[in-house]
Amino acid sequence: MVENRPYAKFLAYLVLTIGVIIVAFPVYLAVIASTNDSATISNGNMSLLPGDQAGVNYYRTLFQGTARTSGEAVGSMMVNSFIMAMGIAFGKILISILSAFAVVYFNFPFRKTAFWIIFITLMLPVEVRIYPTYKIVADLGMLDTYTGLILPLIASATGTLLFRQFFMTVPDELLEASKIDGAGAFRFFKDTLIPLSITTIAALFVIQFIYGWNQYLWPLLITTKSSMQTVVIGIKKMLTTQDVLTEWQIAMTTAVLAMLPPVLVVIFMQRLFVKGLVETEK
């Protein structure tokens, strides 16, 4: 529109800039804290400029840990988080693409039932079935294992719905052409459906990686060994807020490290991230 109101644009820049500053400020402070020593922070003397302790803090955090986390280094917690996030993302994609393939491309007596069984899981988040789920995982001997961390979180309707929706848009003629070209179900899936779904897969991967990395309640319940802790749980253990002995510089260094992978994923895979977010909510 040819509307010439310079102040409107100025206002827009102003509002957005303030927004960005407010959004970034807590993280900026965390980064600053990760470059200061313990005393500076707990005296309340921290300035808004970086200190000179970054090397020490990041080294200690990544490789040594603190007494509160039973000396578990954040580096190994991040490895745990990474395994869990990747496991959840891949697991979800795998089982949901298979089930969507079954529901869309086959006709069998319990098709609708199967779809609804999966669909209803939307209404059963972990939080509403915490202890019974915990008990099953315990009975299966999966406490303090990666399997226990990953498996219960990989089934959900989101992925199946997403793939189903995408498969419905694939023209029937492609399957017919494949059939004439001599491709069976497996070949069609591998040679045509998967390559066509690749962006959907990537988008779902980005969302599920973030989801997995950021899990809190579930790992809190089922990990008791410090060696199985994820980084999001680890940081909570570092601060008991009443405690003056909290090593804030280490806690904030851990916070920065814990944010890094998922935030980088969002920034560098923004297009896929937005696609995934919008489509899993449709």
Binding site: P171, E173, L174, E176, S178, K179, I180, D181, G182
Partner: protein
């Protein structure tokens, strides 16, 4: 090579929709057979049953000497060209053509030879590395053809392969398909609702309506001697005029009180029997009074360039006459039409069947 034989083939869809009602048809080896008919008449269904994409509810389909009812599409030795081409969007042109061959374990150098050969015939050699989305509609169409050719199948199946192209390209591709089919000599079955395509391409023309065959024959036969009123009005453009009339005696009918002679007329029709009289717009001679003549009140004239269409009424019914431009002054209000007895078609108003000599 092989012909295709259909024996009372039927298709009943879920919900008891009978889309194909017992079709029998013999398609000779190497011939070009076109299935034509209005939308929804079951021609795609029939073609897809031949391809094996649709189960056959009744009857048998034979390709060569083999009954293929229970055989998978891939094993029927056919190739198909779809209306939307159905190219694999993520594969290059080369891979699109090679895919079927790879799936059946054709040796690599053989695949390469065949793809190159097909690409040369279709003049798409320079696109082999491209993805389908980087091609124009006409080029995609060629790739779809190429995918069919490389397979060296017994039968080509086409389901309205040209209807996504613009008018000019459609004519060009039509000629190319015909040339290609003649060169390769592969039995082809081609579905269309475009009667110009049907007439120009076919050796054997099959007109369908309501899940049944109305008439089978060479395009010239079907045009010259339509067996039913449906075929008469479906084939030919503009469509044949139909006028109500009655039998006067052997070889004569009366239309709106005017008497006309008929060459091809069933013997033994008693005087007074109602008939439908069919006259093609291009078969009547306007302006000259002849032995048999009708008069027409003109409503308006359509200019088509080389010809003109005069729209009006004869004996109370709509009537169209086609005449070369300039032959008749455009402001003529009343025309006298000379009728050649050989060009009059008679149909039974009840059964709509032709009342010709047996």
């Amino acid at each position: 090579m092989a012909g295709v034989t259909l024996d009372t083939v039927r298709k009943i869809y879920a919900g008891n929709v009978e889309a194909v009602k017992g079709v029998s048809l013999d398609i000779e080896d190497g011939s070009f057979c076109v299935l034509v008919g209005p939308s929804g008449c079951g021609k795609s269904t029939l073609l897809r049953m031949i391809a094996g994409l649709e189960t056959i509810s009744g009857g048998t389909v034979k390709i060569g000497d083999r009954i293929v009812n229970q055989i998978e599409p891939a094993d029927r030795d056919i190739a198909m060209v779809f209306q939307n081409y159905a190219l694999y969007p993520h594969m290059s042109v080369y891979d699109n053509m090679a895919y079927g061959l790879r799936n059946r374990g054709t040796p690599k150098d053989e695949i390469e030879k065949r793809v190159k050969e097909a690409a040369r015939i279709l003049a798409i050699e320079s696109f082999l590395a491209r993805k389908p989305r980087q091609l124009s509609g006409g080029q995609r169409q060629r790739v779809a053809m190429g995918r069919a050719i490389v397979r060296k199948p017994q039968v080509f199946l086409f389901d309205e392969p040209l209807s996504n192209l613009d008018a000019k390209l459609r004519v060009q591709m039509r000629v190319e398909i015909k040339r290609l089919q003649k060169a390769l000599g592969v039995t082809s079955i081609y579905v269309t609702h475009d009667q110009v395509e049907a007439m120009t391409l076919s050796d054997k023309l099959v007109v369908m309506s309501g899940g049944q065959i109305e008439q089978v024959g060479s395009p010239a036969d079907v045009y010259r001697r339509p067996e039913t009123r449906f075929v008469a009005t479906f084939i030919g453009s503009p469509p044949m005029n139909i006028l109500p009339g009655t039998v006067e005696g052997p070889g004569r009918v009366s239309v709106g009180g005017q008497s006309i002679a008929v060459t091809d007329m069933r013997e033994g029709l008693s005087a007074g029997t109602p008939v439908e009289v069919g006259l093609r717009p291009e078969d009547v001679q306007a302006g000259s009074a002849g032995v048999s003549a009708l008069t027409m009140d003109v409503d308006f004239v359509e200019e088509l360039g080389a010809t003109q269409l005069f729209h009006g009424k004869v004996a109370g019914a709509e009537f169209v006459v086609q005449a070369s431009t300039g032959q008749i002054p455009a402001d003529t209000r009343r025309l006298t039409l000379a009728i050649d007895p050989a060009n009059v078609h008679l149909f039974d108003p009840q059964t709509t069947k032709r009342l010709g000599r047996v």
